[in-house]
Symmetry: C2
Subunit: 184 residues, 2 copies
Amino acid sequence: MASGTRERIMDVALQLFAERGVAATPVTAIEAAAGLSAGSGSFYRHFKDKQALLAAVVEREIALVRKDPAVPAAGTLAGQLLSDLDFLGRLRPLMTILMWERNRAPEVAEHVQQVMADRGVELGTAEELAVAPVEAVRADPQAAAAVMMSAMTGYFLTTEYFGRRPAGIDPQRFASTLARLLTG
Amino acid sequence: MASGTRERIMDVALQLFAERGVAATPVTAIEAAAGLSAGSGSFYRHFKDKQALLAAVVEREIALVRKDPAVPAAGTLAGQLLSDLDFLGRLRPLMTILMWERNRAPEVAEHVQQVMADRGVELGTAEELAVAPVEAVRADPQAAAAVMMSAMTGYFLTTEYFGRRPAGIDPQRFASTLARLLTG
DNA sequence: GTCTATACCTTGATAGAC
DNA sequence: GTCTATCAAGGTATAGAC
């Protein structure tokens, strides 16, 4: 169960890091949560130090998200937005850690951004907007795409970090209204 | 210069807390940044401990934001949105700290939420939406308000935390496009 | 009110027995 | 690979001189 422990350490670390931040998570707490004796250096048999663990955790999460099939472009924009919200949900622990570490480890921030860009959450669906019959969208498609992306991340972050959905609106209702605003 | 030092401590603490988090900011660093000798306990002449300082800083920021006249409701929705973005900017250090401390100090989170709600960022401007000629808005005004609020916080948070504006769109362009999407 | 000095605790990290 | 034991470093907090 050698690498079993290693995986378990990464599992609990992901959770603890996202919950309390890297700086506020002592190695001893990680050991305890992983079923090792707290204070024993057993952790160091698996990772050089906490930074190495952080890097490994981030790598693993990114790989996991990347492997996930990017959803075969649902037909409707609303459907696309819904699946994007789901995608963001899977990125959540990573985004949380990123927000904590953005100053101390900017590489991590860029890495996550890259993943999001790859997935197309940022601007990929903007193509669908090009043919929208809505006047405001035709007037400035780029700004409209920015509104779309902002609304998505805002809805997601509000839900995740402030503990409640904006105005209590559920994801379906949100996605469908956003889509209708953009495409008429 | 007794209370002068106290104020200075709060000033630098707000900055350091927002930059690196409370847990990652030792009292010694606060002392140093405030012009005191690092490691001297001079800090403790002004605050009982770091938690007390955090509470005081949050209180002071909230009071400051509250005192600020809530902008005399600009005529256009776009104008309103722009001033709301500015308001969010002033809340920024507080929101950063909140995101870090939300698990350790949920009261702080609720406190800030209350301020935002009071200001009307959340749903106050929804009234303007009631008369909008846009079909999607009339169909579900509450969801439209949620989209508006999400777009605002999303634009703000993306700018602040990911270091760049969504699609490089500036605030004016963003606000005006969002307003046009909502009101036609 | 700020300093030097210090006691204490927590955390990071290693050594060596099992 | 995990444990007990251990230490150095860093951080909290207090005491007492100035």
